[in-house]
Subunit: 428 residues, 2 copies
């Protein structure tokens, strides 16, 4: 008998029919002899509706009250799911974030988990019930206020509960069949992965893959929790994300998986590019620039500094930031222009980033060569390059992005014959 | 500086505009130098919408989960009200029932308050904030589950908080100007009362007045909390309900109020009448009948036993119960018919009850005479009569009820020249 934590997103519980379908799914797992803890998001558009209501009142809602408002969403879905499970003959008890012992810091809207004490959840499971826990929400440790965790919060709740309860697996139900070698909306012949490592999933998530949030993967990796990403609309096996790249997962047929060289191709259209031109090439200037950027409270991703043009004593520094932060950081830099002594700033939001990720890239020479040859042959101009041990990312014009993703996907033999199925939207 | 607890019902906070209006109202009170604690119901139709959602899932929802679901309603309205107060320049913090220390028993759906420990509410007020508390909900003492209090729950929350915080007054905002001498929808020239005693309000509430729930008035009376029932749609003084009938309230002009003989006329269409015919007139038979009724879990209101017809050795027993329970109690009696030995049962749901209430009736002879003369002159047939020290109730045919209410209202000089204003629906 295994203990399974299942997480269902907002699109899976969008209406009464969806909730009943999820209830049936939960009971299947329960009746197969497993203990089940379910984490659930707010129904479909509930969160957006609550945000609209708040916007009708004020555009400067206190973060504490916004969390109080939004946390109502999961109360509804979790109570309704408990009712549906009972109506289908099962036993179920729902718990709010605070009842489930999800203790967070006090950063309303993006709270981080500091402690998980799921005594009530554990007791409910021991008594034979399915425990249903509100995703996305917790209670702050000192002030005992309701908090929410921001994007990917429900996934993180599920993984954190799985870790605290020492669960065998955390199943993340979504509207696609699993993790694909590329976004199936861009690459129609993307292939679903049977397995990949947390490390690979981290790189994919950090560089544009939307299927799991970075935080949830980090958490699972740290606590060694296997994640099974699968569809709530089918019974297919999905993708297993294993904490350690050297783990071999036994497939149902009993064959150990071969470790593929690359796991997949991620893309990202959310960033813009800023170039600081004519920076005096003397010690401390780059540091000064990044201090200014840090003070503007921005998240810099890629950074490239060219060597200085011969004899000019000047260099250019280019970096990428989320588009929404680009104006702010440019304004901050302009203010510091005379002090830092650079010549000009260029800003370009029409860029896209494509990343190739694979744990085996470490030990495989020739990956870079294949990567850049594919881009060259597809006529893709490369603006910026950045790499990690298991990733290569480049920036190009946004119009070329889809072509770049497809070219790389094909070059590494990731294409399949089947079209991927995409079912709907995404939850929180 | 006074501490004022204000309660706003669902119709006052039905939409963003309503919430902003309430926020302005709260700030007026705050800016006049008072400490303010606000109890708020769920927005407009929220509760009905949540009940509909649950009904789509199951018709046998576990009571615990139903409470979890319904309690989401106040979370939304209270957070939005806090936002609106902050947007209008005030300081506000919202609290759920459990955060506000509303500890109840475990009777989901109709929980009763067992303890109020509003430490967080008190602290928020001391720090200069308006504290906003979710009405209608609490947390069960032992199992620490979310509970709801059923009809009139938000009013009861407000009075209980007022008592625990030693507030100067509990203001119940509603959609009429105050308590009237009769329902203004029936008697168009009903007069608003400046004041009445808790005892009178209890009798009115118990016999059909919908303006305040019995529980809330009982609570206020027990803890000596003055209630001020007033409209959230106007700034008029409303009706003061004072804990002790002998209290004299000083009107703004400084004149002590004269104690009127009668406070008002209540009516009630919610009950049905059951007559058990031919009950053997021997000791123990009536007791047996009422045991059967009690086991059917019904709330008997009026009971009348006629003297036995000369020589027959038989008597009839008539009682009234809520219409929804009438079939159940008749079935239970039929089952016990042979054992008890009565002849037949008659059931009549087409009845109405009218009650005259007034604390000064105790010391005023002639009230009954005026009452029954008025009914007689209006051609009203009286089926049943029951009285308390400060009340006379009769049952008649439902079609005659409005006429009976008007006749009594006029006979006791309660009519006024002005038409009462009725603004909208009622909250929970």
């Amino acid at each position: 008998m295994a203990l399974i934590v299942q997480k269902y997103g907002g699109s899976s519980v969008a209406d009464a029919a969806g909730i009943k379908r999820v209830a049936a799914r939960v009971l299947e797992t329960r009746n197969a002899g497993n203990d089940v803890v379910v984490v659930v998001s707010a129904m479909g558009d509930t969160t957006d509706e609550l945000l609209d209501l708040a916007a009708e009142i004020t555009d400067k809602a206190p973060a504490r009250e916004m969390d109080m408002l939004l946390s109502a969403g999961e109360r509804m879905s979790m109570a309704l799911l408990a009712m549906a499970i009972e109506a289908a003959g099962g036993k179920a008890v729902s718990f709010t974030g605070s009842q489930a012992g999800m203790i967070t810091d006090a950063l309303h809207g993006s709270a981080r988990i500091v402690e998980v004490s799921p005594a009530r959840v554990r007791r409910a499971v021991e008594l034979g019930s399915v425990a249903i826990v509100a995703g996305f929400q917790g209670m702050s440790k000192d002030s005992k206020n309701i908090t929410t965790m921001g994007r990917g919060g429900s996934d993180t709740t599920a993984v954190a509960l799985a870790a605290a309860l020492d669960a065998d697996v955390c199943e993340i139900y979504t509207d696609v069949d699993g993790v694909f070698t590329a976004d199936p909306r861009v690459v129609h012949h993307a292939r679903m992965l049977d397995t990949l490592s947390s490390e690979e999933m981290l790189e994919l998530a950090a560089h544009g893959s939307k299927i799991l949030h970075l935080r949830c993967v980090e958490y699972a990796r740290r606590f060694g929790i296997p994640i099974h990403v699968r569809s709530s609309f089918s019974h297919n096996e999905g993708t297993w994300i294993v904490p350690d790249a050297s783990d071999k997962i036994e497939l149902p047929e009993g064959e150990p998986l071969e470790q593929p060289i690359v796991a997949g191709v991620a893309h990202d259209l959310s960033e813009g590019k800023v170039t600081v031109i004519g920076v005096p090439d003397i010690p401390g200037k780059a540091a000064h620039i990044f201090e200014v950027i840090a003070q503007a409270d921005t998240n810099v991703d890629m950074i490239v500094q060219n060597v200085s043009t011969a004899g000019s004593g000047k260099t250019d520094i280019t970096f990428t930031v989320p588009k929404a932060q680009a104006d702010r950081v440019v304004a901050a830099l302009r203010e510091a222009q005379s002090e830092v002594g650079f010549e000009d700033i260029e800003q370009d939001n029409k860029i896209g980033k494509v990343s190739l990720v694979g744990a085996a890239m470490r030990s495989n020479a020739g990956v870079s060569a294949t990567f850049f040859r594919a881009l060259h042959e597809a006529g893709i101009n490369v603006d910026l390059i950045s790499t990690s041990e298991i990733r290569i990312s480049i920036v190009t014009h946004e119009d070329k992005l889809a072509k770049a993703v497809e070219a790389i996907h094909t070059a590494f033999g990731l294409d399949t014959d089947q079209e991927a199925t995409v079912y709907g939207g995404t939850g929180r």
